[in-house]
């Protein structure tokens, strides 16, 4: 089996799905000749010259026209160059993509994928390091996924393209090339809405997603105790409540590690669901190690915002010694 990084896995998923289904088209800024600023669409324009489009520089235009294509039977995969630049397209996503199925009472739907590099840790300039998943997860009608491994990236992107509804597909830039693993050459899917139990354990449930999965794993491999059950969400919405709740019922403790700012976030929702459904199993309050409620600092200050080994250790200790 070939060992791929996330960029290669995503590229393979796109290429194979384009070969399988002639309705799949790719559009976005610099995705054609240049192959995307992160090279995720590298080579696709050469293979499918009439189905890969360098668009004008306009996110609302990219997403709005993708909606139209989806309505007329295509399977557009739109790229937003960085999630920090998705905001001109919010109107199209929130007011149209998310709502079409419901407001037409099922007559029209919107099978499209909007891919976007996300999150920080790569010392990029302003607006290139944000974690914006909560905006989308808060919008009824949108699915939101964020793979943290090359295998999941390929499987989830294939699922997302085949999904009958709009999927926001967030790619942690920090993991694009830093993690490699074996990925099957043939097509496969990873279901949307299913979390992945990375390792089983009895004392503590740790829930995370995106670029922090690697941070947490690095800490866990260095210590045997406590016995941690580690869950990678993979899908943010729909959230795999079942997997989280049954784990917390077993361990009685939960730590959520999230890169995005703390308030009104995905970790807030997870914490609420645990309190609603596993309250009597809890031996300690649900603990959150989340971003400060700050504008993401620029590269020189980025490390002050992001978690590190020490902060993860301290959080684990706190929840274990409550």
């Amino acid at each position: 089996m070939a060992v791929l990084n996330m960029v290669q896995a995503l590229n393979q998923a796109l290429e194979q799905e384009m070969a399988r289904d002639s309705d799949v088209v790719v559009l976005g800024e610099d995705v054609g000749v240049d192959g995307g600023v992160f090279r995720v669409t590298d080579g696709l324009h050469a293979k499918f010259p009439n189905r890969v489009f360098d668009t004008p520089l306009a996110e609302s235009g990219i997403v709005g026209t993708a909606i139209g294509m989806a309505v007329h039977g295509m399977r557009p995969v739109a790229e937003i160059q960085f999630s920090g630049f998705v905001f001109p397209a919010m109107n199209q996503l929130v007011c149209h993509a998310a709502r079409l199925r419901n407001r037409s009472r099922g007559a029209v739907h919107c099978p499209m994928v909007v891919r976007m590099p996300s999150q920080g840790g790569v010392r990029a300039l302003e607006h290139h390091s944000e974690s914006v998943e909560a905006y989308f997860a808060h919008t009824p009608g949108l699915k939101v996924v964020m793979p943290a491994t090359p295998y999941d990236a390929k499987g989830l992107l294939t699922s997302a393209i085949r999904d009958p509804d709009p999927v926001i597909f967030m790619e942690p830039t920090k993991l694009y090339r830093s993690v490699k693993e074996e990925v099957p050459e043939e097509q496969f899917t990873v279901p949307i809405g299913k979390a992945n139990i990375i390792q089983e354990g009895d004392d503590l449930t740790v829930v995370t997603w995106g670029s922090y999965l690697k941070e947490v794993m690095d800490v866990l491999t260095k210590a045997e105790k406590p016995s941690v059950e580690l869950i990678d969400l993979r899908s943010i919405s729909p959230l795999d409540t079942e997997t989280i709740i049954s784990s917390v019922k077993k361990t009685g403790r939960c730590l959520i590690v999230q890169e995005a700012p703390r308030s009104f976030s995905v970790s807030s929702e997870i914490s609420a669901r645990i309190t609603e459904r596993a309250f009597l199993s809890l031996k300690a309050p649900v603990q959150r190690l989340a971003g400060y409620d700050l504008i993401m600092p620029m590269p020189q200050g980025e490390h002050l915002y992001l978690v590190n080994e020490r902060r993860i250790r301290t959080a684990i200790e706190q929840v274990m010694t409550y």
Binding site: E29, D30, G32, V33, D34, G35, V37, D54, P56, L57, A58, E59, S60, G61, G84, F85, F87, P88, R123, A124, L125, E126, H127, R262, S263, Y292, D293, L294, I295, P297, M298, P299, Q300, G301, E302, L304, Y305, R310, R311, T314
Partner: protein, 358 residues
């Protein structure tokens, strides 16, 4: 008002205003609105910008800067346009505007700070009546319209000048800015730095319009195509547009026809999408080469002076770099300035941050 020069050039016919040709000669049709001394001063500024650009690129390669945005080739468009402004006017830039910042009088070390990834580099800008660089493409154009609208409401004889790229003209915000400016007849000068590329996307794929200047016509005001590598043409167009705006006659769009000689940023490899020969064709049209030839012909400048000015620039840039590198990142500042008053939940997080820092 006598017919303005900028109104004698029809963008629909692709007519372009140029005063100084590639050989450094004036065509003679229009006279520069800059004196010899001013031209010389601006040449020196442009050279300083180029020296700084080269230095910053070298430093980025050594890992001493984060991503750097090069500006070589676009100095005349920025410096010429900004020279037409008063100190009280506002400048609203995009992100490729180091020459504009220098022309506006910003300290070199301050200019370098944000490209090094330190927000402190933004904090001084209002004193130059210049907004911080705007990275979300096209978004800043609306702010210029708002600023100039406020100037008009307050009956101040001032203008706002905004810069944006050819790619920026595709964003909805740009069209909304143009429309508001037309409807409210705001004293706005729109300057499009058409450097022919938006990362890998050529100008021809950005818009089916033959020129960008002609877009102004649809919004009810005039647009002019200008040789953006000609300092005199850029200055003249900007001067006329600014004075027109000051006297209550509304906005103008200037399309500065120029070229991005370098990569998009240091993270970009242009060999993927453009031929070396395309770039070579623009080397003789370098705005600095042309102006230098002109100044030499008029015996205002010599190789000797060039050498000593270059040395002076090197020294200035070296000093700025060491000042920039001495600037300590203010860690607590990431918590400050979110609101006039820090709300309780943030106060709590700040205290936690302080405790952890120890």
């Amino acid at each position: 008002m006598p017919r303005l020069v900028i109104e004698q050039y029809d963008p629909l016919k692709g007519q372009m205003l140029q005063l100084l040709d590639e050989k450094g000669s004036l065509s003679g049709k229009h006279q520069p609105m800059l004196s010899d001394e001013e031209a010389l001063r601006l040449y020196k500024v442009m050279r300083l910008c180029r020296v700084m650009d080269q230095k910053a690129l070298a430093m980025q390669r050594q890992g001493r800067m984060v991503t750097y945005v090069p500006t070589a080739g676009q100095e005349a468009a920025s410096v010429g346009a900004i020279a037409a402004l008063r100190k009280e006017d506002w400048v609203v830039p995009a992100f490729r505007e180091t020459p504009g910042q220098i022309a506006r009088g910003m300290k070199l070390s301050e200019v370098l700070l944000w490209q090094r990834g330190n927000e402190q580099g933004f904090s001084v800008m209002p004193s130059y009546r210049m907004m911080p660089v705007a990275v979300p493409v096209g978004s800043q154009t609306l702010h210029a319209v708002g600023i100039s609208w406020a100037m008009k409401l307050r009956k101040e004889p001032l203008v706002a000048m905004t810069f944006f790229g050819d790619g920026g003209t595709s964003e909805g915000d740009f069209h909304e800015a143009m429309n508001f400016a037309g409807v409210f007849q705001t004293p706005t000068v729109f300057v499009c730095q058409n450097n022919q590329w938006a990362i890998s996307v050529p100008r021809s794929l950005q818009s089916a319009s033959k020129t960008i200047a002609q877009k102004a016509l649809a919004y009810g005001f005039s647009g002019v195509l200008v040789d953006g590598n000609d300092l005199f043409a850029m200055h003249l167009a900007a001067k006329e547009a600014a004075e027109k705006a000051r006297s209550g006659l509304g906005p103008t769009l200037i399309e500065a026809f120029t070229y991005r000689l370098g990569a998009h940023t240091t993270a970009d490899d242009p060999r993927k999408y453009r031929k070396e020969d395309d770039v070579k064709a623009w080397i003789p049209r370098d705005p600095l080469v042309r102006l230098k030839l002109y100044l030499e012909k008029r015996r205002l400048w010599s190789e000797e002076q060039e050498r000593s000015h270059h040395e002076e620039c090197d020294a200035k840039v070296e000093e700025a770099v060491s000042e920039m590198e001495r600037t300590v990142y203010e860690e607590d500042a990431i918590f400050m300035h979110h609101f006039a008053e820090m709300p309780p939940h943030l106060q709590e997080q700040y205290e936690e941050f302080r405790r952890e820092a120890r």
